[in-house]
Chain length 325, copies 2
Amino acid sequence: MKAAAKAHTNIALIKYWGKRDESLILPMNNSLSLTLDGFYTTTSVEFRDNLTADRFYLNDRLIEGVEYDRVTAFLDRIRTMAGKSDAFAEIHSTNYVPTAAGFASSASGFAALAAAAAKAIGLTVSEQKLSILTRQGSGSACRSIYGGFVEWEKGIKADGSDSYAVPIAPADHWDIRVAAVVLSSAEKKILSREGMKRTVHTSAFYPAWVDSIPDDLAALKDGIMKKDFEKVGGIAEANCLRMHATTLAANPPFSYWQSTTLLIIQAVQGLRESGIPVFFTIDAGPNVKVLYLPEHEETVRNELLNITGVHDVKVSKPGQGVSYI
Amino acid sequence: MKAAAKAHTNIALIKYWGKRDESLILPMNNSLSLTLDGFYTTTSVEFRDNLTADRFYLNDRLIEGVEYDRVTAFLDRIRTMAGKSDAFAEIHSTNYVPTAAGFASSASGFAALAAAAAKAIGLTVSEQKLSILTRQGSGSACRSIYGGFVEWEKGIKADGSDSYAVPIAPADHWDIRVAAVVLSSAEKKILSREGMKRTVHTSAFYPAWVDSIPDDLAALKDGIMKKDFEKVGGIAEANCLRMHATTLAANPPFSYWQSTTLLIIQAVQGLRESGIPVFFTIDAGPNVKVLYLPEHEETVRNELLNITGVHDVKVSKPGQGVSYI
């Protein structure tokens, strides 16, 4: 009745942006990510007879409130699947994801939790089923089941049974790098969920965003297969800018960017103008992730660390999918 | 054969963004602006028999090259209208428009030039005809023919004869203020014409931009009539953000913003959260214009001058249309 798993976070090159079902977490569009070896969560789950409720420890701290509720609601799904509605668990999670770098630790967190909890309660699930299960905890987490380049197929069914991740190319297919730029000060932000919802319901540009995805996806997959870095980086950057543009057309409009975000964008563009192939992508927050090839690591790192408002740069390589530990 | 005119620049509350005809300068969408008393151009035009070409002085400097070509090409239209193809002029223009504040001096410049040249060559034109003529020199200049709040009707005819400005409310209708924020360093920028063209032809969001204008326009005119500052400011701000969002979805994507642009946006939002009705608008460049009511002038000025990267703040009131001097 005990199991432990490790899962890495992932960075979307084509963004998940908008839900068609809030409860089952079904997306409006396919997305495509790269799993990152540098940032991960380890989670152990033990179902114990003497418990009358779940106990959740995150980084050795007992968690209550909203975060606890989200975990226990997720375990409810697993209990239902296993037919064990009175099985409660003690969960220990450790995040190796620097939150200041703007990664959603929910991606690695729910992937590790789903894997560990399913095994601990005695469920035998395929990776596809595990991805479907994980998705219901945190949407983008379903991509972290696999390593390397991963597509999340939005599916069309109302029950979400065809909305899961599929591996596109493994981690060892291509050594590209992702630098997470840590900002000196993280200002207040609009929560990703809230911003996404407002954009879907009010942005004049949202339908065109959804329509633009299939072309991006086909071109990005082609670029990944051919290891065409300019193509992959260019599509990722354009896709992220298009996503952020949808927020400016929401009602009321909003933006996740801070002034440092723009300084980093301009530094990346400047490096590119000097002949170094380097691209950026930005999730629902002010932090920037920078894509580059291994041979340019020192140049890119130094350039980023020189920017006012940049505190640190955390480098990652393509990472593996979820594993039991 | 000599005349002189004065014209003010204007700030668009609903942006002119995209041409349907590059040569006649016909827009894809209606726009609506406020003429500003603080920023203007005075121009004298004298047609003289002894000249074999136009001579154009800007701020007492003899101009050659592209700027000269644009002026003389515009005078060609006036010569054709007057049936005087061999009448050449000496033109003296003085700009009282701080270019560092990011105003296009072409708006006041071409409005003053059109008025002075038409009178000097002996043409009798209505204000509507003058607006059509001015439009062919610089699109947004056609709005500077009138004072106060002015709409530029895009028209539908191929010859542009129904594409002109119409006055919505005079300068003395409502005393609102516009602060032009002057940045310490103006970085390189994508020219407005080039950016506009790229957006029209490649932005996935451009059609939705055009579709969004009629609602903005109706609401803005209602707000102006009712002197509803929150409504007017809110629509102007949302319209400008939507315009800038179209550039992020262009191919390749681009942005006119600099890091200081975002600092000013955040300062305006901060003032608003503290209860002061203040809004921003941004043209095709990094500079921000801030809209507020006279009673908040000191607060707004001080807040803006406190921002790192802000060099100066230039305040303006609603201004008059073109006049002969």
